[in-house]
Amino acid sequence: MSDPYLKPLPEPSIDSLPYWEGLKDRRVMLQRCSDCRTVRHYPRPMCGECHSMEVDWIEASGKGRVYSWTVAHHPFHIGFKAETPYILATVDLEEGVRIQSQLLDVDPADMKIGLAVEVIFGQATDDLVLPYFRVAK
């Protein structure tokens, strides 16, 4: 018997399902407008640049740089109580969009804007893989 999974679970939508399915294959999938080729995130139905609703999905390199961060000390949700303090990083991906997740195995004193990071994956439940970051090797 494993411990119950207490963290919030995503509720994928028609717009976001390919993102969550991609994570199961350990790939970060991003929407790219089929017409003007602008990459966007989070998944949504219309391109903000040209307003096309046609979309392709591309695989992100997983590499990016820290834009900002916080160190979460107070657990606002019981599911995260055991892992505080943890770093929440906002990362500029090479593809030009941002993604936020935990940056693992870093001393908060070493955090700085521009820190090079890369995606790693964590199996949350049987049906859910989540993206995390570590300092780029």
Partner: protein, 384 residues
């Protein structure tokens, strides 16, 4: 267009309940108590109210109408922008008044933010946080403190803003709260107390974070020609709301440190026809100490990056150049989602600020901030 709402409406009545961490009334009870006080303060009867704008979380307009037995309401709406809602509701009220739909609009907020649903649970249930909930909650970004802290951290990294400047804001709010009979936090606070308070989400310590409170606050917005009969009307000179780029998610915003208020402020100042130097008193939405810095910049009181230095040296204290949150703010009076800021501005411009009265205050400003970056601002003046 620029002066479209200038002088069209005035706040004629204000009402507030006791603010506490354990109200003996329901949310609708708090709303009705504050509403009735505001209606009587305006010299009106409940039946005179023909418009209702309740806060977007909690009891709806129909419950207000039923509770007060309002039988001729011609307009009801909500302005679902979190803490930007109350001031955005002033714009909504002024607009429907200017359009001739209503004479007296009740804007009311009441909640049990301490006793019932706390903030992390509240926002998860709000439709405007759907994208945050799907993508950011699973990895542990849940509460406003965690969502806003990266904005403050980047400001610190780029501009050298520091925790002493955050502390100056927290200590100032506490000093002001201690002058207010209806403030929750009455214990003195020093800079050292601030620095010793526990870390919530770096760089936010406990004393950088607003309270969670129970209470109700209401104001009556009246048509200018109907306001003349009231005791002490305060005229709305300029009012505006603004939304940041990528309003539904902070992380996708080109610039984390420039928010909707930066778009609203120039419109409000132009509509009001006043300059920054004309502002005698300011009520700035202070969900976190850093937000005061960000808003002072977005309002144009200083340049982006200079807000930390701006608050130093007592500038925002009573007696300073821009007395700010003379009631103690969300940080030390109570968290009534900024409706208490509207109340306080009216109180100041009436000259009824008691021990916290800004001498000679004639023109003042109030902001709202919420939903990850929406902003609203109103500039008011005591009616001559």
């Amino acid at each position: 267009m620029a002066d479209s709402l200038n002088g069209k409406a005035a706040i004629t009545g204000i009402g507030e309940t006791e603010y506490s961490r354990g109200a003996d009334k329901s949310s609708i009870g708090l709303m009705l108590e504050a509403s009735l006080k505001a209606i009587l303060d305006a010299g009106l009867k409940p039946q005179d109210i023909d418009g209702v704008i309740p806060y977007s979380l909690g009891p709806v307009g129909e419950e207000i109408m039923t509770g007060l037995n309002l039988t001729d309401v011609r307009f009801s709406a909500q302005t679902p922008m979190g803490g930007a809602s109350p001031v955005a509701a002033l714009q909504c009220a002024a607009a429907v008044i200017a359009a001739g739909v209503c004479n007296h609009v009740l804007v009311v907020l009441g909640r049990r933010g301490s006793s019932d649903s706390r903030v992390a649970n509240r926002i998860a249930a709000m439709p405007q946080f759907r994208q945050i909930s799907e993508f950011e909650n699973p990895i542990g970004a849940i509460a406003p403190a965690q969502l806003y802290a990266p904005m403050a951290r980047r400001h610190m990294e780029l501009y050298g803003t520091n925790e002493d400047q955050f502390a100056e804001i927290a200590v100032t709010m506490r000093e002001h709260a201690m002058l207010n009979d209806n403030a929750i936090m009455k214990k003195p606070m020093t800079v050292e107390d601030h620095h010793a308070s526990r870390m919530i989400s770096d760089p936010f310590r406990l004393f950088d974070c607003c309270l969670e409170s129970d209470g109700g606050t209401a104001v009556i917005v009246s048509a200018a020609d109907r306001a003349k009969d009231s005791r002490a009307p305060v005229t709305i000179l300029g009012v505006a709301e603004g939304h940041p780029d990528s309003p539904s998610t902070i992380t996708q915003r080109p610039d984390l440190m420039t928010l909707g208020l930066a778009k609203a402020a120039p419109r409000a100042f132009e509509m009001a026809g006043v300059k920054h130097a004309d502002i005698d008193v300011a009520q700035i939405y202070d969900c976190f100490t850093y937000m005061v810095i960000c808003e002072l910049e977005d309002l144009g009181f200083c340049k982006k990056g200079e807000g930390g230095a701006y608050v130093e040296g007592g500038r925002i204290r009573l007696g300073g150049e821009l007395p700010t949150n003379t009631h103690g703010g969300l940080l030390s009076q109570a968290h009534i989602a900024g409706m208490n800021h509207v109340y306080e501005l009216v109180r100041q411009l009436r000259g009824e600020g008691g021990a916290a009265q800004v001498a000679g205050a004639e023109i003042g400003l109030v902001t709202g901030y919420g939903d990850l970056g929406d902003g609203s601002v109103a500039i008011m003046q005591k009616a001559s």
